[in-house]
């Protein structure tokens, strides 16, 4: 008997290995959608006429955002006898990619839930890979019209609506009223939006007078920030980042308009108005007169820096076109293609972004509401700095490009901005980067 034991062990090893090989083969060859559906495990189930839906969100249930999701799902389940939604909270650990890693794995093993959350710019790649399903048909036109245009733009791929968000985000030009008064400079407003030249002129004057960079702008933040915050310069100047289908960059990414927009950034740095490595909180401390930042900076300013008199004016526009384009983007909800109940899932997506949900979300984390109807329940957004943020979103919100090769586009945009900040010529840099994007696009065409 003793000598059989090793043989058994080796045999079992062999079997387990071939087992691995087989499942690999199945997933490699894919198989028809029917067989895929048959093998799905984490999918919704129907029991006694009640549709069970599973939803994944990208935060833990201890965060303010997670608490709102939990509350709103509970409210949904109470209001719907025939649908029961259960949420799984998945933190974005590991450089923020933990949640996306989980989605990637679930795609490979056909274990996606019915509803997922996704970051705005991921929509195109998820559609391209058949992960999310169109939901536009399940949502009334009346409801759709209530969302900010940038929310619809962000969730639309190839003319079809796939995702909806509960909150928006943007970047405004914060200014220190005392410093502006000292130099006799009149701030801009929604009726009189500052152009790049206005900002350069004021910046130059204050930088010289205070002997300190007048504009705090986070040129040292890395990752998605650069395309999020600075692509509007390009759009405002009449340029674009990539073609409509997201696969042509030549002549678009390296256009003269874009070179001029990056030239504006270069002027800010060359003139010493902004630096590649701004001192942290230099606006909060009253050293810088201006700051380009999002609404998330407001609670900190209000709570911890009560001595600073600050307000917000709209994002500066190109002196050439004077067209307002402002950063936008947020996480959104979408129904997955693997779900057997897309109609019900779409209902959940709408519920999670309805007026009540939007109000709850804004109250919890302070981000601008995604629905126009929510504003009447949000006094903070009816006046002052927050109203400016909301107004500029409604008028000039511009979603980031929709492209299956978005990560490469975003990276090269960031690299171009970095190169310009560190002194290189905008047009030369753009010409170099466009080749990288084109090469990547070639693989997708």
């Amino acid at each position: 008997m003793k000598k059989f034991l090793p043989i058994l062990l080796i045999l079992s090893l062999g079997i387990s290995m071939t087992g691995c090989g087989k499942t690999d083969n199945v997933s490699n060859q894919g198989g028809t959608p029917e067989t895929k559906k048959a093998t799905e495990a984490a999918q919704s189930t129907e029991t006694g006429g009640v549709v069970d839906l599973k939803m994944w969100v990208h935060v833990t249930d201890e965060t303010d955002e997670g608490k709102v999701y939990a509350e709103r799902v509970a409210a949904f389940n109470e209001a719907h006898d025939n649908i029961n939604v259960s949420v799984e909270f998945i933190p974005r650990a590991g450089g923020g990619s933990g949640y996306e890693d989980k989605i990637n794995t679930a795609v490979t093993t056909n274990q996606l839930p019915d509803i997922i959350t996704l970051d705005g710019p991921n929509a195109a790649a998820y559609v391209d890979s058949g992960i999310i399903a169109p939901i536009g048909d399940y949502i009334s036109k009346e409801s759709l019209d209530d969302y900010l245009p940038s929310i619809i733009e962000q969730g639309t791929v190839n003319g079809q609506l796939y995702g909806l968000g509960a909150m928006e985000s943007t970047v405004g030009l914060y200014y220190n009223e005392d410093i502006l008064n000292k130099y006799g400079i009149k701030p801009g407003s929604m009726d009189n939006i500052w152009t790049w030249d206005d900002l350069l002129a004021a910046g130059e004057k204050i930088t010289k007078g205070e002997n300190y960079p007048a504009l705090e702008v986070q040129f040292n933040w890395t990752g998605e920030w650069k395309i999020y915050a600075f692509a509007p310069f390009v759009w405002s100047n009449g340029g674009n980042v990539i073609s409509e289908d997201g696969l042509t960059a030549a002549g678009i990414f390296n256009s003269q308009e874009n070179a001029e927009a990056l030239g504006f950034i270069k002027k800010l740095v060359d003139g010493g108005i902004a630096t590649a490595t701004p001192e942290e909180n230099s606006f909060h401390l009253g050293k810088s007169a201006f700051m380009l930042n999002g609404p998330w900076a407001m609670p900190d300013l209000e709570k911890n820096y009560p001595d600073i008199k600050w307000a917000v004016m709209p994002y500066p526009v190109s002196s050439k076109t004077k067209e307002l384009h402002v950063p936008t983007g947020s996480w959104q909800f979408a129904a997955t293609s693997q779900s057997k109940h897309v109609a019900e899932a779409a209902q959940v997506v709408e519920w999670m972004t309805n007026t009540e949900s939007v109000v709850a979300m804004t109250n919890a984390i302070g981000m601008p509401p995604a629905r126009k109807s929510a504003v009447e329940f949000l006094p903070a957004y009816q006046e002052g700095a927050r109203k400016v943020m909301l107004d500029q979103l409604a008028q000039g919100g511009h979603a980031r490009p929709v492209s299956p090769i978005y990560p490469v586009v975003s990276r090269n945009f960031e690299e171009a901005i970095d190169a310009v900040i560190y002194g290189e010529d905008p047009q030369t840099v753009l010409n170099q980067k466009v080749q990288v994007i084109e090469r990547e696009a070639k693989r997708k065409k």
């Binding site: 062990l9 080796i10 387990s16 198989g31 990637n104 590649a276 490595t277 001192e279 990560p407 970095d418």
Partner: protein, 297 residues
């Protein structure tokens, strides 16, 4: 005949038993080392896109052609080599120095031993964040010390030329404690009588170090250098946390770029191809290093 048969049977039994004992380790090795290597090897000839696991096509040498055109691959290799050239002398030298220090019988020896070793047990991410706080160009402690001594403020991680050397110093500081323990073990193995004999012959401390300590530590040094080299090739956490590979890709290392290609750009096939090239280069380097260090024997 009879004997041979018996012997053969005995041998088979022995062999099988040996495999049985090896089986637990072998199974794990197959699943977690061999299988991924084979998978990655075969993916490098495909267009595997992370989100389309059902549409993997064989594309021959396309990925490798693409590597030739991809400046970032070569830039990240170059950065990795720069890092290696700087970090090996610094880290091995520091480790040896620390080992010599705590090898002396002085007061609070244990305290120093623990302090020198503690960075090793610390999480790389935590360590990187602590260094970032210290190195902050405006409000960091290091620049405060520099300015109080009359030096100019340094940009450190925000400069294209200083970022990589800064990461070298942080990494050497973090890693040296481990190699210090290995050196210390080597030092303890040198017989005391060698030093006594040399002392009687009139060799001073420096000569003793040069002609007794260093030659005795030869094998230990080879081992330390090879492990440091392999560790240095795998550099990813520090640039990921401290600089995100910037500014201007000056701290983009090859493993970090492979990670970005596979996870952020989702091109698993292409990332596998770079990994294959990377593995070949590391293998060649380790073999060269062993050869080079052995020949002097």
């Amino acid at each position: 005949m009879e004997m041979k048969k018996l012997f053969g049977k005995y041998k088979l039994k022995e062999t099988l038993l040996a495999y049985a004992f090896l089986a637990p380790a072998l199974i794990f090795m197959l699943i977690f080392i061999v299988a991924p290597i084979i998978a990655s090897l075969s993916f490098s000839f495909t267009d595997y896109y992370l989100l389309k696991p059902n549409e993997i096509d064989f594309i021959g040498l396309e990925n490798f052609k693409y590597i030739l055109e991809d400046n970032l691959v070569w830039l990240s290799f170059l950065n990795t080599f720069k890092f290696i050239i700087m970090v090996i002398p610094l880290q091995v030298g520091t480790a040896l120095g620390l080992a010599l220090l705590i090898n002396k019988k002085i007061k609070f020896n244990l305290f120093f031993k623990v302090s020198f070793f503690s960075p090793v047990v610390m999480s790389l991410v935590v360590m990187s964040i602590l260094w970032m706080v210290l190195l902050n160009p405006q409000s960091g402690l290091i620049n405060a010390v520099l300015t109080s001594l009359g030096f100019e403020k340094q940009p450190f991680l925000t400069s294209t030329t200083q970022a990589l050397p800064t990461i070298v110093v942080a990494s050497a500081w973090q890693g040296a404690g481990y190699q210090m323990m290995i050196f210390l073990a080597g030092l303890k193995n040198i017989p005391e009588m060698l030093y006594e004999a040399a002392g009687i012959d009139g060799a001073n401390k420096w000569k003793q170090f040069l002609y007794i300590t260093l030659p005795s530590l030869r094998n230990v040094t080879v081992f330390v250098m090879i492990t440091t080299l392999i560790g240095a090739f795998k550099l990813i956490i520090q640039p990921m946390v401290m600089t995100s590979g910037g500014p201007k890709n000056s701290t983009l290392t090859i493993v970090y770029y492979i990670f970005q290609t596979g996870v952020r750009y989702r091109n698993v096939g292409y990332a596998s191809a770079i990994t294959l090239i990377f593995t070949l280069i590391v293998t060649v380097f380790v073999m060269m290093q062993r050869r080079f260090l052995k020949e002097e024997d």
